[in-house]
């Protein structure tokens, strides 16, 4: 890559590798410990002198976690909400991102400032009026209400991120396609869109994770029986504070699919972020 491999650098490379492994161990330990606790017999989890290595393999913590409260209902609701938010956010966000990155028009600057500014409002600051609004619209305790509320933070994010990807694609490519007889829409579909696709994947993944992880709105805008996965886990911890082993089993079930998804798209995401490198 960008470092030059000169002879005699072997030794320093070993040093860097050692440092890298240290980062690996320190950053990875919490995740390891979560999975380790989840599969460990419950009595080993309250050993005052815990063994760092796995002591035994049991699924009883998972069974217990599923017994304590309905797990699949909350997960299903979280999936519906997150996927809807991503689809709506990406379609509407892409249109808006095109508008502010490929058109010159009066008011463009105001829109950009607006999109930037609204990202600065902490969600928790808006919870009081949002709660009152959903109440007025008869959307309290409804997934549709939560979906539209999530767009408050997903939309500005997708618009701003997609804009970043679009401006990285040279305008000349589009213009060349138009000189060759493409319409503006045709140029977008054939030239810009393929280059933008990896960026859109990356943006969708960020958006999905944000929606999946959201806690406060889900807590405040849905009743206990319609709770999402994050609220499920947080409640789990307050009600059974000392039962850490089943809690870690629940945490593992919630996190693993997301993490696997992340690992799968990771390469595409890197490609998306570097696609803009091929310039001129």
């Amino acid at each position: 890559m960008s470092t030059v491999a000169t002879p005699g650098r072997r030794k320093s490379k070993a040093g860097w590798n050692l440092l890298g492994l240290l980062v690996f161990v320190v950053a990875g330990f919490p995740v390891y410990w979560m999975v380790n606790t989840a599969f460990k017999p419950a009595k080993d989890a309250i050993d005052p002198d815990p063994s760092l290595l796995p002591t035994g393999l049991t699924l009883s913590n998972f069974r217990r976690a599923l017994d304590i409260a309905d797990f699949w209902g909350p997960v299903g609701r979280s999936l519906i909400v997150s996927l809807s938010v991503v689809v709506i956010g990406m379609v509407i966000g892409l249109l808006a991102a095109l508008a502010i990155s490929r058109f010159a028009f009066r008011g463009r600057k105001v829109v950009i400032v607006g999109i930037l500014a609204v990202q600065m409002i902490p969600l928790v600051a808006m919870i009081i009026p949002v709660f009152l609004l959903l109440n007025d619209l008869d959307q309290y305790d409804k997934l549709s209400g939560l979906i539209i509320t999530y767009l408050t933070f997903i939309l500005p994010f997708t618009v701003w991120t997609l804009r970043g990807f679009i401006v990285n694609i040279p305008k000349e490519l589009e213009e060349a396609a138009m000189v060759d007889g493409c319409s503006r829409t045709g140029a977008f579909v054939r030239v810009v869109f393929p280059l933008l696709a990896p960026g859109m994947v990356a943006t969708s993944v960020y958006a999905f994770i944000q929606a999946w992880n959201e806690y406060l709105y889900a807590l405040m805008l849905l009743s206990q029986e319609h709770q999402t996965a994050t609220v499920w886990l947080a409640n789990f911890s307050t009600k059974h504070g000392t039962e850490y082993a089943p809690m870690m089993a629940g945490a593992t079930m919630m996190a693993v699919p997301i993490v696997v998804l992340f690992l799968l798209v990771q390469r595409k995401m890197a490609a998306g972020l570097t696609a803009g490198a091929v310039k001129g």
């Binding site: 005052p48 002198d49 509407i92 400032v113 990202q119 928790v124 009081i128 570097t274």
Partner: protein
């Protein structure tokens, strides 16, 4: 923070690759209505779920709005600046402000510095180490905040937490039973660690992608001209990464000032006074004390504070927007 202090003068040496000529704006197709049509759905939704509540937040903060107003028994009563003078006159509020600023600045600085160091480190390690670290980073990045919070609660548990057990193995250290959340500063330090742990991967991966865009010829040229590792970083790498760094820092400020679930869940839904940040303080006033007017006033003040903090970066972002 590091972004602005260190990079501005260096821009002269290596201009961003795409800045020399301003792109011409295409006015050929479509009338002036096209961009507005494209923006319409976005603006409509934001107007409904953001614009209106924001307006409502402002009016609420000038009203006496409690339980009976919530249920519609009594109309909301206009009290002018009453809520604000009550909040601003409360010394607890100012303690919360200070605590929030210290907490957020700590989070942002640690996140950016560690993120940059790890991103640079990943350029220098062998492929297999890079893969290992990347897997771990992605795993902790994808970790839902609530999962991470419950996980850290478990790591730092006073009786059975692994951290206390490990620390106690050190000679002369006896930490079993130590409650990390007995004092505010110590507990918030743990929460800061949690926030940084979750935020670093995004920074590393984004900066890492940016680093691959730094042309190696530029670095080589700098090296041939006698620049050391620091010189290359300072005068070649940093200027090229500057837009990414500015964006990451802005986002970090926004996120770290808005930290809520970590504190809320870590303290079992009832943060003690010495754990209150502006976000939880506003929530507390509204939903625990049932004074929605004061809660809104605090939320509004938080937003204003944040606007002040980020205004500088906004200007920076706009400059970038201009160039494009």
């Amino acid at each position: 923070m590091s972004a602005v202090d260190t990079t501005t003068p260096a821009k002269v040496l290596a201009p961003p690759p795409d800045s020399p000529q301003r792109p011409r704006v295409n006015r050929r197709s479509g009338g002036p209505a096209v961009p507005w049509l494209l923006l319409a759905p976005c603006l409509a939704i934001l107007g409904l779920v953001l614009g209106y509540p924001l307006y409502r937040l402002v009016t609420l903060s000038f009203q006496m709005f409690g339980q009976s107003q919530l249920w519609g028994f009594k109309p909301a009563e206009w009290v002018g600046f009453g809520n604000f003078s009550k909040v601003l006159g409360d010394s607890e509020f100012w303690q919360v402000v200070l605590r929030t600023i210290v907490f957020a600045v700590g989070c942002v600085v640690f996140t950016m510095v560690i993120g940059m160091l790890v991103a640079l480190l990943l350029q220098r390690v062998s492929g297999w180490v890079k893969t290992l670290v990347n897997i771990v980073l992605v795993a902790s990045w994808g970790m839902p905040v609530i999962v991470a919070t419950t996980l850290f609660k478990w790591l730092f548990d006073s009786d059975y937490g692994i951290l206390n057990a490990l620390l106690s193995k050190l000679p002369g250290v006896q930490m079993i039973g130590h409650n990390w959340f007995a004092s505010g500063p110590q507990g918030l330090a743990v929460i800061m660690l949690l926030v940084v742990w979750g935020a670093v991967p995004f920074v590393v991966i984004t900066l890492g992608a940016g680093l691959t865009q730094v042309p190696s010829e530029l670095e080589e040229a700098a090296r041939l001209d006698g620049a050391g590792a620091w010189g290359v970083f300072r005068y070649v790498t940093l200027p090229i990464l500057k837009p990414i760094i500015v964006m990451l820092t802005t986002l970090s400020v926004i996120w770290d000032m808005g930290v809520f679930p970590q504190v809320f869940v870590m303290r079992g839904g009832h943060p003690e006074p010495e754990f209150q940040l502006l976000t939880t303080y506003s929530y507390d006033r509204a939903f625990v004390v049932n004074d929605y007017g004061q809660g809104s006033a605090i939320a509004l003040l938080t937003v204003l504070l944040l606007l002040g903090v980020v205004a500088v970066y906004m200007r920076q972002m706009l400059k970038i927007g201009e160039v494009e």
